[in-house]
Symmetry: C2
Subunit: 136 residues, 2 copies
């Protein structure tokens, strides 16, 4: 099942500007940053409070034809995804497929810090892009 | 500052249908339910995993002229807000006002389970409706 909320993803147009905004206004700081070339995204993980809970994942387009760029074009910046930690992303995905939910990928992709991820189609999850995260 | 993520709010058209969906597909169960007449919302809090982390707050319209009804009309169901726990909602709000961010209310409103809440205008928070929650 879903072990916990892993992170909340927020689409931003400009990652550096967003990092400054979160640091200056909310006192939230980056604990990990990377570029996922396959997904076309520059991302930063921000810790909240003592850092033991879910993170904020800021997601900015690394190229114009990325899913994040298309999201921002359609909906503007803002809440974009909700990620849960699972023990095994393939088991979790199969259980959801068995209930008729569509997963975006047939096999898991690489996520943040070497995690294995998949996503539930938002149309099958009440409009929420649900990410399943199996940590490395 | 922001102590932790308190909850993630998800707008749903039908609360009972959404509760069934989350229980059957994701194994997430309701730990608190209430109607906030002032906000015009029927809400349910779902625990994730061992329940020690942030909750999901499912938000359904209690009347057609509510903020949640308008959100669903504009954007469809889905991720609607991100709430953080703070020690004192007035102190937290004043600090944000001092940085030029707009708060939706001049004085805190009643939130879930007797909490005191306010919201940052999404246009001042990168498109995210940010809730500040001072628990009862
Ligand atoms: Co993510
Ligand atoms: Co809320």
């Amino acid at each position: 099942g879903l072990l916990k909320i892993d992170h909340v993803g927020i689409a931003v147009a400009d990652l550096d500007e967003a990092l400054r905004f979160y640091a200056e206004n909310f006192g939230l700081h980056c604990v990990h940053q990377e570029t996922n070339e396959e997904q076309g995204v520059r991302e930063a993980m921000l810790a909240v409070g003592d850092g033991s809970g879910p993170r904020l994942q800021l997601l900015a387009p690394a190229r114009p034809d990325s899913a994040i760029a298309k999201f921002i074009d359609r909906s503007g910046p803002g809440l974009q995804q909700l990620a849960y930690t699972v023990a095994d992303v393939e088991t979790a995905a199969d259980a959801l497929r068995a209930r008729g939910l569509r997963l975006l990928y047939d096999t898991p992709k690489r996520g943040t810090a070497g995690s294995r991820i998949n996503f539930v189609h938002p149309k099958d999850a009440g409009g929420v892009l649900v990410e399943l995260v199996e940590p490395a």
